[in-house]
């Protein structure tokens, strides 16, 4: 599906980013990974430019970066201001810097931008207010970017996996949000189930889809 396409994945060094990167390779994309912190606009743009130098002009960017502390289960009342900053505002800023760097790389030929925003954004989750706040901000950012960059043939969409897939190994996400089980009878696998939907959003077929959020959770949330 993605033969000859170059896809840049942020947060691709581990967790769901790595699983998506592998799944995109399964779909025959040339995948380049940007990892590490989103410290400044200059840094992120330099990292994207280095990825382009190595892999060729970028066709799609997937933002799968998640701060390792974002999924800390802690009430907001107990959350120190520095932790609020790191789990919420810095995550949102990382998405901004990714969008800006992606816009710079994609602007000449159009392209695809996909943000990974777990379903927790849609449902809300006790214990995870900072990250859930950032995620709903990311969804709104994607829609605004989609509106502004459509004229450049850049589409911007969100893919929403269940939050368990975002957690670093060993960490548990929020549980018990759904009254029902997965309609499809099992939890999704990031590489086998989520990555193909990301691949679809990077492929020709989805060229008229923009500003959308696509839940890929096996049928738990079924958002209105």
């Amino acid at each position: 599906m993605l033969t000859g396409r170059v896809v840049l994945v942020t947060g691709g060094g581990g967790g769901i980013g790595r699983a998506i990167a592998l799944g995109l390779e399964d779909a025959h994309a040339t995948v380049t990974v940007v990892d590490g912190e989103f410290a400044s606009r200059t840094d992120v743009e330099a990292a994207f430019a280095a990825a382009r130098e190595a892999a060729g002009p970028i066709d799609a960017v997937v933002h799968a970066f998640v701060d390792p502390t974002a999924l800390t289960n802690e009430t907001l009342a107990d959350t120190a201001e520095a932790d609020w900053d790191r789990r919420c505002e810095a995550m949102l800023r990382a998405a901004l810097l990714c969008c800006q760097a992606a816009r710079r790389e994609l602007s000449a030929r159009g392209g695809r931008l996909v943000l990974v925003t777990p379903t927790m954004a849609l449902t809300g989750a006790a214990g995870f207010v900072p990250y859930a706040t950032a995620l709903e901000g990311m969804r709104a950012m994607a829609k605004s970017a989609a509106r502004q960059w459509g004229e450049r043939r850049i589409t911007v969409n969100c893919v929403a996996p269940p939050v368990e897939l975002m957690a670093p190994a060993g960490a548990a996400g929020p549980a018990g949000l759904a009254l029902t089980d997965h309609a499809l009878g099992r939890a999704p696998d990031a590489r086998a189930d989520v990555a193909p939907v990301v691949a679809l959003l990077a492929a020709d077929a989805s060229h008229f889809v923009t500003g959308a959020t696509i839940p890929v959770d096996g049928g738990i949330v079924m958002a209105p």
Binding site: W84, G124, S144
Partner: protein, 254 residues
Amino acid sequence: MTGPLVGRSILVTGAGRGLGRGLALACAAAGADICVASPRENGAETVAEIEARGGSGTWVRCDATVAADVEGAVAAAVDRNGGLDVVIHNATSRRSSEPARLEDIDEALWHEHVSVSLRGAYHCAQAALSQLRARRGRLIVMTSSAGIEGSAMLPVYGTVKGALRGFAKSLAREWAPFGVTVNAVSPLAETPAMTSAYEKDPTLEARLARVVPMGHLGDPETEVGPAIVFLAGDGAGYITGQTLAVDGGRFMTL
């Protein structure tokens, strides 16, 4: 004073003018005592208008980005009323209606939006929880259709307003066991910010009128205010985590 909110203590951030002032006037007319939190003297003008109509309130100089300021505003409301029933986080950056391209957003404009809307919401929640918990109170955050459907003109405003919906949903789950509700209200209102947006984009008013089924922007006090009065009142205790659109039908999704 009579009305559904008699005896209630309500704190409104950004109540010095515009939508926040209208919400403060509506709640005061419904009988509540209002703590007008504003960093500028226009907060005193809001209080003067409340008092001129027979209501009660006080102005507290409060920058929502500063924890101590928000704590001071909560303390002032508690001093006057022995407690706090409702916090309305309405404050936004003074640059919130400044059109921008997402690719051009710099650190300064980003910080403006995030610090007032998001850090301000964090400070409100931190400062008010123990008081709200004692009275099974309400937290209301003001969002926007820009936060629901994105905005081609105001991408960062849309981002932080969308983020506030995430804040409301998750905090609603967290505070429900305390009997405290958390909701978002998405208004479409005639405000100084809208007037300034019209000045920057003269076609905006006509375009908006076409896409608002009710054909006009809402009046902050008489068309948006009553929804806040309802959420702050006795009948709304089982509503939480919701976004209530008070926007003339602009946005219909659910």
